[in-house]
Symmetry: C2
Amino acid sequence: MADDAYDIRPGEEAVQLPAKTDAGLYFIGRIHTPWTRREDCPKNARESDAVCTIEVDARWAPALKDVETCTHLVVLYWMDRARRDLALQVPRHYGEQRGTFALRSPARPNPIAMSVVRLLKVEGATLSVVGIDCLDGTPLLDIKPYFASTDAVPEAVTGWHAETKAKQE
Amino acid sequence: MADDAYDIRPGEEAVQLPAKTDAGLYFIGRIHTPWTRREDCPKNARESDAVCTIEVDARWAPALKDVETCTHLVVLYWMDRARRDLALQVPRHYGEQRGTFALRSPARPNPIAMSVVRLLKVEGATLSVVGIDCLDGTPLLDIKPYFASTDAVPEAVTGWHAETKAKQE
């Protein structure tokens, strides 16, 4: 890849990707955010109160029926600039080697990002939301209602991260 | 589709799918559950305490480093038998027409399911988890650490669902 930001760092490990993919995705819209450069994106979605907009393609607009009754949504989107071959990564802001599946980094075999967003309003096929951290123009894959009963686990702990934070304090 | 269970019901609306897909997915493992028929699957993942296993392909096993420090994970998987063209659906157990993006139904343009699971153990490239509701053999797409700080919203409400439940009580 041409962009230095996407080069491999010491301690990172890439695998050989399969020769072909197994299933296909449709881009069903675009996400508009204030961020046009990777380094400007918030490190995580709760870092910013920026209102972002999700433009759903006309074809899928009828599928938005009843979405306005949700306070929160799960949004899946495609991190189309991310490497897909990293098994071990050294995130710049932590500096330690971690497995890809223990990280929320966009670099992963299937670079599908998941954000829980707060829904502000629905106007036609445009949703205004808070809680997205991606580049402007990112392809949309899915919108789901957030169910606190199955999706909210306030007591969950990501051990390596809790330890890192404790060391920093 | 041959299977009656996947036929369209009165009140449902299908759209014309695009001629081609926009991106490709790799299946990176398989999920093993006790359910081999669609009608046996729990309606949602919290309905069952069944221990399911996630088998990650050998190629991606190194990416599991540090995952054992997580109490909960976000698991993305591919509902490979679902219709992809439904914009409006009438779920059998609710009986009312809803937009696809207001439902967690597997039928959606990109049938990517998202479950928050409790991690019991990691042995080699096999994870034992509680909280999955899919058919045995379902293709795995991604594993992410669950961060309560960004992913847990206990106060979230899905209005149409809360109303339906209130009517039933």
